[in-house]
């Protein structure tokens, strides 16, 4: 199945980064239009992503350095979100892995698909944010909000 992996350094302590994932008000600011959650193992996780729909699942693990969630889609195995937080250079190294995603594209074969997937790999590695982002307003170049 398909997978998204990202790694970035944040100029903030790990506990500040951690609460961006476990506090509903903070999640709503970066991920979507509304969040409902109980950040404990087995606790619910519900993210209202506006016109993209509602994603819901459960927390599996919540420790200072690791957050794991499972989000399910009817008829498929759940996808898994793993967030690793480690102190680094006075800030935090965040490593995200979102695995078990629908593999509709990955299952394709043929020259046409190789071409498409190659373009996607370039875009995903360094491309600009999409123009049709979710309901959250985009950041301005200096990091402010429009």
């Amino acid at each position: 199945m398909a997978e998204v992996r990202r790694s970035l350094w944040i100029d903030a302590p790990p506990e500040v980064v951690h609460r961006q994932f476990t506090d509903p008000a903070r999640i709503a600011a970066w991920a979507g239009c509304g969040a409902d959650l109980d950040p404990r193992p087995g606790g619910i996780y519900r993210l209202d992503m506006g016109r993209a729909g509602v994603f819901a699942g459960r927390f599996v693990t919540v420790t200072p350095g690791l957050i794991v969630q499972e989000v399910g889609v009817p008829g498929q195995a759940p996808s898994r979100i793993e967030i690793v937080l480690a102190a680094e250079a006075g800030g935090t190294r965040l490593t995200l892995t979102h695995s078990g995603l629908p593999d509709g594209v990955g299952a394709m074969a043929g020259r046409g698909w190789d071409h498409h997937l190659a373009r996607l790999a370039v875009a995903a590695a360094g491309g600009a944010p999409a123009g049709d982002s979710l309901c959250v307003r985009p950041l301005t170049p200096d990091g402010g909000r429009l």
Binding site: Q20, A29, A52, V105, M108, G110
Partner: protein
């Protein structure tokens, strides 16, 4: 375990449409070659009503295009729609992590 409840939006229909392994197989078959429904049914040893139902779901989700050639209807995968789906989660995290970094850094500075 949880579930996705899609808003009335093609993107949600696309995820549901791809949730079926037979439909994923059909899309792989017609990713590069357009084919009539009878050939698709034969490739999967499926009845015509069965394949027609899958093709209808895929068309309504915007994942399959059809064109007429005489009296024959030819089906092919909409590769741009599939590519758009592949970008969805990558875009979600790229946008989201950029905002998260901005918010966490502002909070750490004391002006979040």
């Amino acid at each position: 375990m949880g579930q996705v409840t899609p808003a009335p939006d093609p993107r949600g229909d696309r995820f549901r449409a791809l949730g079926d392994p037979t439909r994923r197989g059909i899309l792989a078959l017609i990713a590069d070659d357009e084919r009539p429904a009878g050939q698709i049914a034969a490739a999967f040893a499926m009845t015509r009503p069965g394949v027609s139902r899958h093709l209808r779901i895929l068309r309504e989700a915007g994942l399959v295009r059809v064109r007429a050639r005489g009296t024959t209807r030819l089906y092919r995968a909409d590769t741009e729609a599939l590519a758009d789906m592949a970008r969805f989660f990558a875009r979600f995290w790229d946008d989201g992590l950029a905002r998260l970094k901005h918010a966490a850094q502002a909070e750490a500075r004391g002006d979040g």
